[in-house]
Symmetry: C2
Subunit: 211 residues, 2 copies
DNA sequence: TAATTTATGACAGACACTGACAAGTGACAA
DNA sequence: TTGTCACTTGTCAGTGTCTGTCATAAATTA
């Protein structure tokens, strides 16, 4: 339970170094303009090794937000079963920003840096949303399970798709630096959640009562 | 105002031939497994020429749905100004399927073929969604203009994001052949729209009355 | 028919990504 | 400590996407 071993530590170090170098280079010269050769050179590693850590150049840019989504899925699974679907999903979103707030400041800075980059790079935005949609399938499955519904239940699809829409708008980049950036993100997310709450009928995320 | 000229006609013909050949090959061997060399060879054209018609291999697969989105944007601009935003957006969606229903049967068949392909190919799904998001910016701008709001108005973003969520669920591929496919698509879209209507509070897509 | 656009093909090259093999490095037991 | 084993890395060769460039052929216009 102590150290993960030298080999493992080295790997984590290289991985993080690659992410940092990539994010820096992307910010400097843009995503498309930087080659993986450059990233590898910055970390003093062969290009081949880069692809042993990340399947694609896109992956290194999306790695942090992708981790965020994993957190959200785990969080959803931990929500109490009686909680309505939409509530459970929004609570999972909140858990993500809470984690950012409580975690290391450099970690959250990296996360926000990646988010800004993604938003300003069409190619990355596409990849990012594609991953969201892959996760969407998992979320739908989880919601359907919780509600005892079918995997292709229209309501489950709708609830999740709507939640993802909220997440997309709520996590859009806010121009602010340092700690304020996270507060700014929190504010925007809460404002969006409030807007959603105000727009939706109570109980909309559960099957209509045929009374 | 008569013929568009021989040169232009030839170009349209080549373009359509490329789309058809590509869609066929993709369906046969999968998207990634087919090379642009193969597509070019099938139309008896140099690979370089392929890239004069389509910027990327992805583009040839996305070309039809992309055209559909252009139609939707044009349709939105034509909606009456007093119509609430969400209504205008959903009407624009309906206009798209109406166009498919009334148009040439081979055209709609091609469209549905492309949609099925995209849904079953993660890489294409990513590209497809990226384009949707680019269009989303245009839709937000149009909605904001109609409502006399700011381009970064939260409500405008929310309305459009939510509409796109509905569109995504509503346009998901339905397994049916020939004319039934379009009816099946219509049914699913209408069911999703009804679900949305049922879930949202009346007047949600306009600023709250501070009464 | 001659002059001017415009589409195309042929070629070379950059870059993302992959498979295969050899060499270096940490893990672990004798 | 040493030797073996597993794992990580670098090198090299190759495929496929996509781009710039230039010469040729075809269509348009005069």
């Amino acid at each position: 339970m102590g150290q993960p071993g030298l080999r493992e530590r080295k790997k984590q170090k290289t991985r993080l170094a690659l992410v940092d170098a990539a994010l820096d280079l992307f910010a400097e010269q843009g995503y498309e303009a930087t080659t993986v050769d450059q990233i590898a050179a910055a970390v003093d590693v062969s290009p081949r090794t880069f692809f042993r850590y990340f399947a694609t150049k896109e992956d290194v840019a999306l790695s942090l937000p992708h981790h965020g989504q994993e957190v959200m899925i785990a969080e959803l699974a931990a929500r109490p079963a009686e909680e309505p679907p939409f509530t459970a999903l929004t609570q999972a979103m909140r858990a993500l920003v809470t984690m950012l707030k409580e975690g290391d400041l450099t970690d959250s800075a990296r996360f926000l840096k990646a988010r800004e980059l993604i938003e300003n790079t069409p190619a990355l935005l596409g990849g990012s949303v594609r991953r969201m949609m892959e996760n969407e399938q998992r979320l739908v499955a989880e919601i359907a399970r919780r509600e005892g519904a079918d995997r292709d239940d229209l309501l489950a699809h709708f609830v999740v798709a709507l939640s993802m829409a909220v997440a997309r708008v709520g996590f859009e980049f806010c121009h602010a630096e340092g700690e304020q950036a996270i507060d700014s993100l929190t504010n925007r997310l809460e404002a969006t959640l409030a807007l959603a709450e105000r727009s939706l009928r109570p109980g909309w995320d559960r099957p209509a009562d045929p009374a």
